[in-house]
């Protein structure tokens, strides 16, 4: 046997140029974008419900309603996206929200209560934010420095934060926890009389932290650490400090969530946040993040928050009986991610 002549040579492939197939290249590129498929599911749901109940679902009334009710979860989920990308998890969000709410409510109660002015509102808001930030940073420190698995740290934090909130209040939601000004201006107020302030705050938060994740060093380090913490450490990234920051961020956003909660519900709802963590984690995973870290996006999370929200609203509007709703939501969640899986199969990583 001796040297053959080249069997084949295709310069187009070498330069990576698109090749003529029936699907136009821009569409194939688009289908490669992680969020497109999940977004497709969301659109499908909206279309389905609109077709089924054209007179009630998705009138302008409903869209802002859904968005308002999802606003607080969205804020928490944005923080959770960072934590999950960094291969962590935070079960404590709901309790941290409660603790922040309680501490800020205590201040309000002693400084004017329901009739408190903007000065009190400002201080109590700062208290809520700082509480969340400090609690989150503490958890981050335990994860990063003490190397305790995040599940345990934040589960412990979940119990401890709730316990402290209950000790402070005696377990009852205190009265006069929120200034009426705050409730009217932020809780039920609307920007230009159109968009509820809660939605504005949530989307602004989403936008800012979405951009930070996608375009800044902070975001890049978040992906790098989630992808390979040891590699990140070896290239000189201060992994521990970054972890503390990420957990502090989700704490801060829980604090922000507590302010939004107080403004909207007018009470601390100590007993009403036991399953926030699962709701929020589900949204992030629905949005394409991997619990093993390194993958995920804020845009995906945004969609992931809205899929269950639209779904449960739609099912109620369609008059589906409650127990069947549980079944239907379970099935749709799995189906939604199953669709997404086709995309991933397309570009499998061996």
């Amino acid at each position: 046997m001796s040297a053959d002549t080249p069997v084949k040579d295709d310069p187009a492939a070498a330069t990576g140029g698109p090749r003529g197939r029936s699907i136009p290249p821009w569409l194939r590129r688009l289908a490669d974008v992680n969020e497109v498929w999940t977004f497709g599911v969301l659109v499908l749901l909206v279309v389905f419900f609109t077709a089924a109940r054209p007179s009630t679902f998705l009138t302008s009334y409903d869209v802002t309603q859904i968005a308002t009710n999802a606003a607080i979860y969205l804020v928490l989920a944005v923080g959770m996206t960072y934590v999950i990308i960094v291969a962590g998890i935070d079960l404590s969000v709901g309790s941290v929200l409660v603790l922040s709410a309680v501490l800020s409510a205590e201040y309000t109660i002693h400084h004017g209560g329901a009739k408190a002015g903007w000065g009190t509102i400002a201080v109590s808001t700062v208290i809520a934010l700082v509480t969340g930030l400090v609690w989150g940073a503490m958890q981050g420190w335990l994860v990063a420095k003490a190397k305790v698995p995040p599940l345990i740290v934040t589960l412990g934090g979940f119990g401890a934060a709730l316990g402290i909130a209950e000790i402070i209040t005696g377990g009852q939601d205190p009265t006069g926890a929120v200034s009426n000004h705050l409730q009217h201006a932020i809780g039920f107020g609307k920007l230009f009389g159109q968009i509820p302030w809660l939605v504005v705050i949530a989307f602004a938060t989403t936008l800012v932290f979405g951009l930070v994740l996608a375009f800044t060093r902070f975001g890049r380090y978040t992906y790098a650490i989630g992808s390979n913490p040891e590699a990140a450490r070896r290239v000189g990234i201060n992994v521990d400090r970054h972890l503390v920051k990420v957990y502090a961020l989700v704490g801060l956003l829980s604090g922000l969530g507590s302010v939004m909660w107080l403004a909207y519900f007018g009470t601390t709802s100590i007993a009403g946040h036991a399953t926030d963590n699962l709701t929020v984690i589900t949204a992030v995973v629905l949005g394409g993040a991997s619990l093993f870290g390194g993958r995920g996006s804020v845009l995906g999370t945004l969609i992931g928050v809205f899929i269950p929200a639209v779904l449960s609203t739609g099912l109620i509007i369609m008059g589906v009986q409650q127990y069947w709703q549980d079944v239907a939501i379970g099935v749709v969640l799995v189906a939604a991610v199953y669709l997404d899986q086709f995309r991933r199969r397309g570009r499998e990583r061996a």
Binding site: M1, A3, V7, D9, D10, A13, A14, E348
Partner: protein, 257 residues
């Protein structure tokens, strides 16, 4: 020469708009060492994975003993007697060397226990120690997870696994890259010994002297397709490098990329 043991025809594999394989051909005969060489990114590992049932090609045909076969999973490939040393080693990092060596081919205790699936750890450890000694590897502590082993030790585990169970065809994707001088020599000896048992050995390597010293035949891959088939005895390193980089046919042919 005898009939090919394994043949790949016009195998294509795309990842997004990267064409890892574009109509690649490949042939391996029993009882020979065939080297598969090519530049980085030429598609060698992709071809190996295709022929080991690890990934499915988009197009193309694979024949074993002249008959077209479907290699849907590594299990299928193993049925045809195909063993592989993967470039990324494919070790379970949390298991120790002996467990990795026997993964998928555990040894069982005798009697009832064995039928219940109870493993014979001592036997597996003994056979592992023997296999590693044959490859000249000193593992110091055979009980530690392979994650803790040195680069060369890890590679030895992967090589030993394939060699011990070699049957009809063995693919070795850069099996000596991380090995020390002595261990490399042992592996090359082993390759020859295995070949002499009538097994087809497919060796991928970037070390041209090594290729020429051990291979009977060389197939060259470039940009996802086979560009040359050479007899090792008739070739020089320069010729091989020329075929891999396309310098040769650029001289001989117009317009090649």
């Amino acid at each position: 020469m005898t009939d090919p043991l394994l043949e790949a025809r016009k195998v294509t594999k795309r990842y997004g708009h990267v064409h890892a394989l574009q109509g690649a051909d490949f042939t391996a005969y029993p009882g020979e060492v065939v080297a598969l060489i090519g530049d980085n990114g030429a598609g060698k590992s992709t071809l190996v994975k295709t022929l080991s049932g690890t990934i499915r090609p988009d197009e193309g045909e694979v024949l074993v003993d002249g008959k077209p076969v479907q290699l849907g999973s590594p299990l299928d490939a193993r049925k045809y007697g195909i063993e592989t040393v993967y470039q990324d080693l494919a070790l379970a990092q949390d298991l120790d060397a002996a467990a990795n060596l026997h993964l998928g081919r555990e040894l069982y205790r005798g009697g009832l226990l064995g039928r219940l699936g109870v493993l014979d750890r001592a036997a597996m450890r003994r056979s592992a120690v023997a296999a590693f000694r044959e490859l000249g590897v000193d593992l110091r502590d055979v009980g530690v997870p392979v994650a803790a082993l040195s680069g060369g030790q890890k590679q030895s585990v992967a090589v030993a696994r394939a060699v011990v169970f070699a049957n009809r065809i063995i693919f070795m994707d850069e099996p000596t890259a991380a090995l020390g001088v002595v261990q490399r020599g042992r592996v090359l000896d082993t390759i020859k010994r295995v070949r002499d048992r009538g097994i087809a050995v497919v060796l991928i390597s970037h070390n041209m002297p090594e290729v020429l010293s051990v291979a009977d035949r060389v197939e060259v891959l470039r940009l996802g397709s086979r560009v040359a088939r050479l007899t090792a005895a008739d070739t020089t390193v320069e010729e091989l490098v020329g075929a891999m980089t396309g310098a040769l046919d650029a001289a001989g042919k117009e317009g090649a990329a």
